[in-house]
Amino acid sequence: MKLGKEEIQKIVLGVLLFFGLVYSYFNLLLFPLLARQEAFDKSIKGLGPTTTAANSQIANTKKMESEAPGVAMVVHQVNALIPPGSPVAWFPTRMADFFKRRGIDRVTTRLNSESVDKRFAGYRKLTWGIDIPRVGFVQFASAISALENDEPLIEITSMQIEAGREDVELQHILITVNNLVKQ
């Protein structure tokens, strides 16, 4: 069969139409659709771990909250040990009374420094110097034992004991303590 010029032209036209159709279909319709599908699929897959993480975060927090009353109790107990008001007003008096109850008079307490310890959020650390001009060693040791038992927030950081010049049985003692107070 011999094709005429007109037929060849038609075949060429048909081929061109075919390529045009294929090109338009893939580039203008199918590929953008598949790309969007892929993007949606990625978003869905991405949301999975995020949702799981959010759920586990909520579960963890609930678990922590169930254990929180114990934590709050410690903080509450510590706060109960701290009197209200300025520490400069109550601490020296408290120390003087404490030592007086154990027969040690003329105790002077001075504030040395004040600092914020990052470990104890909501509290500040005050350093005091307690001067006891005349005291027997045994009496002092007994008072220190009672102080360490009665005042859990107080920590003795240094102690200077010097024998008296006039009476060797009596010592001049200077102790440095730090205590926690509310911020």
């Binding site: 294929v22 659709l33 959020a121």
Partner: protein, 214 residues
């Protein structure tokens, strides 16, 4: 054989030509392909819609969860801080250095032929947790240096059981110039300064210096 003449051959030829018109055939083929493509596109479009629905559902669920999770995270941070502070408070309360047992032990160790003139105790804020006690005093006896040495060793022995490590060293030990009365006798004296270190944790062993190969 009879002669057969086809007088319609031109008409038949035209019809045949019409039947195998390439443009028509190609249009049919194109149409078929276009239908197949359209079907595939529709299927993909339906799948796409299900994906959109699924994403919207998941997004809506996440949008509900996200503020809750954010609040939970903040709450967890607050709780963590509180737990940490509580632990630190407990550690401070329970990990304090207690001086009363040290003073009690000290009283039991110091003999009657030693007079302690000065005692300085300190908990250094830096370095290995320990208590450093400096003791200045006067020992008396026929051999006052021996008395001071006995005090030094007694101190180390007395505290050895209660602390991880104890060191007791002389800073100074000198013969005294004064003579004191002890049990009705005049005896010579020695002045001493002892440094007593009570370690609350095991100090790290000191590494031996290594030789550099040349």
């Amino acid at each position: 054989m009879a002669l057969h003449l086809n007088l319609y051959h031109e008409i038949q030829k035209t019809r045949a030509l019409k039947r195998r018109d390439p443009l028509k055939i190609s249009l049919y083929v194109l149409g078929a392909i276009a239908i197949a493509f359209a079907c595939y596109y529709v299927v993909q479009r339906i799948y796409m819609n299900t994906l959109v629905d699924e994403l919207n559902q998941k997004k809506a669920a996440y949008d509900k969860l996200a503020p809750l999770a954010k609040a939970a995270k903040k709450r967890e941070e607050d709780l963590t801080l509180k737990v940490k502070a509580s632990d630190e408070l407990i550690h401070r309360l329970e990990g304090r250095f207690y001086w009363a047992p040290v003073l009690e032990q000290f009283m039991s160790v110091v003999p009657r032929d030693v007079q302690v003139m000065r005692l300085n105790g300190e908990i250094p804020t830096e370095g290995i947790p320990r208590c450093v006690i400096g003791i200045d005093g006067l020992s008396a006896g026929s051999d006052p240096r021996k008395v001071a040495e006995q005090l030094r060793t007694s101190l180390a022995d007395a505290f050895k059981t209660k602390f991880k490590k104890v060191t007791s060293t002389f800073r100074t030990l000198e013969d005294g110039t004064e003579v004191v009365m002890l049990d009705g006798k005049q005896v010579p004296t020695a002045t001493f300064a002892i440094v007593l270190q009570l370690y609350l944790v095991d100090p790290e062993p000191v590494k031996a210096p290594t030789r550099i190969k040349r």
